[in-house]
Symmetry: C2
Subunit: 180 residues, 2 copies
């Protein structure tokens, strides 16, 4: 199992970011986060959608909305590790082996403008490449490396639906119907 | 170098998908694609933005808009390999070693609804996990695995701007200004 892993979406704007942030939440869940948290504006519908995917496809994820910097600082002050993903950070594959794994991990994923206080509050500012690309891709590559590769292929307990992939396409097991 | 790698965004809708598709284009570029192509609606502005990032951050990427299925079929008929990323496909880490690397590779990234003809036209239907998450994450994880890990950390020739990542944050080299 290991320590708790939480993904914190920094600076969420309901009017502008719902699709990207939904992708972030789904990636967090699919690659093994225990929690997905919004800082910035709240969005109950977005978090409910993530819970609804979890109900259908299995596993558990905590979802919350928090105030932002005070939440991040409290995490660090109480002994947790905070990693901020940014194109201005140190190379992730060099940095990850140096991060201690016996503490809860908070992965902070920013948007366009992340204030300096976030850089300072986190022990690690980590770049998944120093090119402009996507916070969704950065989160996926970071988590995959953190969990040692193949993180997207984990299985989830208590699923109602299980997709069995094949080269021919869709095989869906709807366990609720199969049990009927 | 290796054979040409092209990312094809299937079923692009200008009104709905520009941010996700911009992320796809930036991921394609940052992880080493030679070309990024839209099928569905055209969007000159989106493709110009990708070229503008390339001008500033280096390297080269071809951008095009094509008709869709006839383009895909022609690629396969002329000897190319086509891989469709879908949550209903076979596990990517098992599939990748079986794909021949001496032919141009077309990576087809779908949206919500991809028609059966795409599944049939591609030699490979590949899943990056069988959970709902994000085509941006799927593309990043697939390309990283295809290029053997660390694909996000490649460097780009002829850049105007080079970001040198550090734990303290931003170090930007603006080569045009430094030369002045």
């Amino acid at each position: 199992m290991g320590e708790r892993v939480e993904v914190l979406r920094w600076g969420y704007r309901k009017g502008r970011d719902p699709r990207i942030t939904t992708h972030l939440g789904l990636v967090a869940r699919a690659l093994g986060a225990d929690a997905f948290t919004l800082a910035g504006e709240d969005d109950k519908e977005l978090l409910e959608n993530l819970q609804s995917v979890t109900t259908r496809f299995g596993g558990e994820i905590e979802t919350n909305h928090v105030s932002g910097i005070s939440y991040l600082r409290k995490h660090v002050e109480s002994g947790g590790v905070a990693v901020h993903l940014t194109m201005y950070g140190q190379p992730y594959r060099q940095a990850i082996p140096k991060i201690r794994r016996d503490r809860p991990l908070l992965i902070v994923v920013g948007g366009a403008k992340v204030p300096a206080e976030v850089f300072k509050a986190c022990q690690y500012n980590i770049g998944v490449g120093n090119q402009p690309h996507s916070e969704v891709a950065a989160l996926a590559l970071f988590m995959d490396e953190w969990f040692g590769g193949g993180a997207a292929e984990r299985s989830f307990p208590k699923a109602q639906l299980i997709i069995e992939g094949s080269n021919q396409g869709k095989i869906v097991h709807d366990l609720e119907r199969e049990e009927e």
